[in-house]
Symmetry: C2
DNA sequence: TCAACTTTGTGAAGTAGGGAACTAATGCCT
DNA sequence: AGGCATTAGTTCCCTACTTCACAAAGTTGA
């Protein structure tokens, strides 16, 4: 036992990272990467937390759920910490993403460079509109430019099966979102990111995250209204 | 005093609606609107909460912060409740929104019908790329189709001043987001919705909400990894 | 009019998250 | 080598949110 020479004990309670912490880990990861690109090798919790927009206490407590990857009196080794956060997030292995709905939003996702740089590969594009089916779009998959053809909606299950995609993105209009969701689930997808403004019903074991652009604006408007 | 015949006392503690509640009000509002369109006139907290994906107790507690708009033994009058939630959210008055960055994401926002149907009007489009400046795009402003020309970035302050926009949306690449943010703030904007993957620094009194598409995917990937 | 039933609104208990302060480990300087 | 300065990791407390359970209020039917 006790191979702990200095740093890097495994991590403590392998389960039980609070949701709030998980939601912040990607931010920490991104800021660390940008520090690394700037040539910074070591950073304190104080400095890093400031760049992430959180308090240093919160930052340190968040990290304590993963393990003990810093050095007291010094701070954190940027690349070492980056590695451990990315491992925790699963960015080490590439995740296959199928995007359903190739309208403006879908295209924005396809051209979003942040996807591929964080371990995601778009492996399928699906739409049901004749004008876009068979259209060829270029995405960057793990750094390489890849041309993807938009496939018709009927092939959804085939594509999910063939590409072994793990994540489905719903970027369709609201009225077909639930139908698409059901088919993604029955094709084996258990993680769904939903941009359509509807509450999706899914069986247990399937996780849905929702991004609603109008909801965010409405929250801003609420606070805006609460000032003279 | 006491004009309270039956229903509709003002609301209780005019301050102090929890953030978590505010974040759910837009969902309640949207589901109520869809019920109304389906011809439903009355709904119980149980049924409505189910459609919103929350527990009925949470739903009732959320509403209790606004006031007492239901009828015991019966439920809620759909249009009556819709009105009060929308008033609380400020959807009654139209909010002017300026979108900075007319790439794929900006275009997705412009064509997103959910904006205008919930009291938002896109009053300005700004970009700094010569190819898109002066391009004319059609948005729906309060139900009417409106053609908006993309204006150059240097005119940002002028546009905010002339249109009296209250909300700024940053849909630019990461590297110019902070600069755009600073200019929005100095032009008088106090509510910002940020799609760029950076943590914005703003003075006190300015509210920033952030939507990061990659972060959402990373959260999904985290949970996906936590299953063999 | 009264009793049975439905459903809201709320008080109280339980849980999770945030903030500050403390402890302990490490590097640096003398 | 030893003390000092720095900074990570942890503990404790407090606030905010959620859940539960019940009483108040209203409707319906006899």
């Amino acid at each position: 036992m006790s191979i702990s020479l200095g740093k890097g004990r495994p991590r403590k309670a392998d389960r039980g990272i609070p949701d709030a912490t998980v939601a912040r880990l990607p931010v920490y990861h991104r800021v660390l990467v940008s520090l690394s690109e700037a040539g910074v090798q070591t950073v304190s919790s104080e400095a890093l937390a400031a760049k992430c927009g959180v308090s240093s206490a919160k930052f340190r407590k968040d990290l304590s759920y993963l393990g003990s990857y810093g050095t007291r009196g010094v701070g954190y080794d940027v690349s070492y910490l980056t590695y451990h956060i990315s491992r925790e997030l699963g960015s080490a292995q590439p995740w296959g993403v199928v995007i359903v709905g190739v309208g403006n939003l879908g295209r924005a996702l396809i051209s979003y460079r942040g996807f591929t740089s964080r371990g995601f590969a778009i492996v399928g594009l699906v739409d049901n509109h004749p004008d876009v089916i068979c259209e060829s779009l270029t995405a960057t998959e793990l750094g390489n430019l890849v041309a993807l053809k938009v496939r018709p909606l009927v092939e959804l299950e085939t594509i999910v099966g063939a590409t072994k995609a793990q994540i489905g993105v719903i970027a369709t209009p609201a009225d077909c979102a639930q139908g698409v969701c059901d088919r993604l689930v029955s094709a084996g997808i258990r993680s769904i990111l939903n941009f359509a403004p509807v509450v999706l019903e899914v069986p247990n074991g399937v996780e849905v995250r929702k991004v609603d652009l109008a909801v965010e604006l409405q929250i801003l408007a609420f606070h805006e209204q609460r000032r003279g």
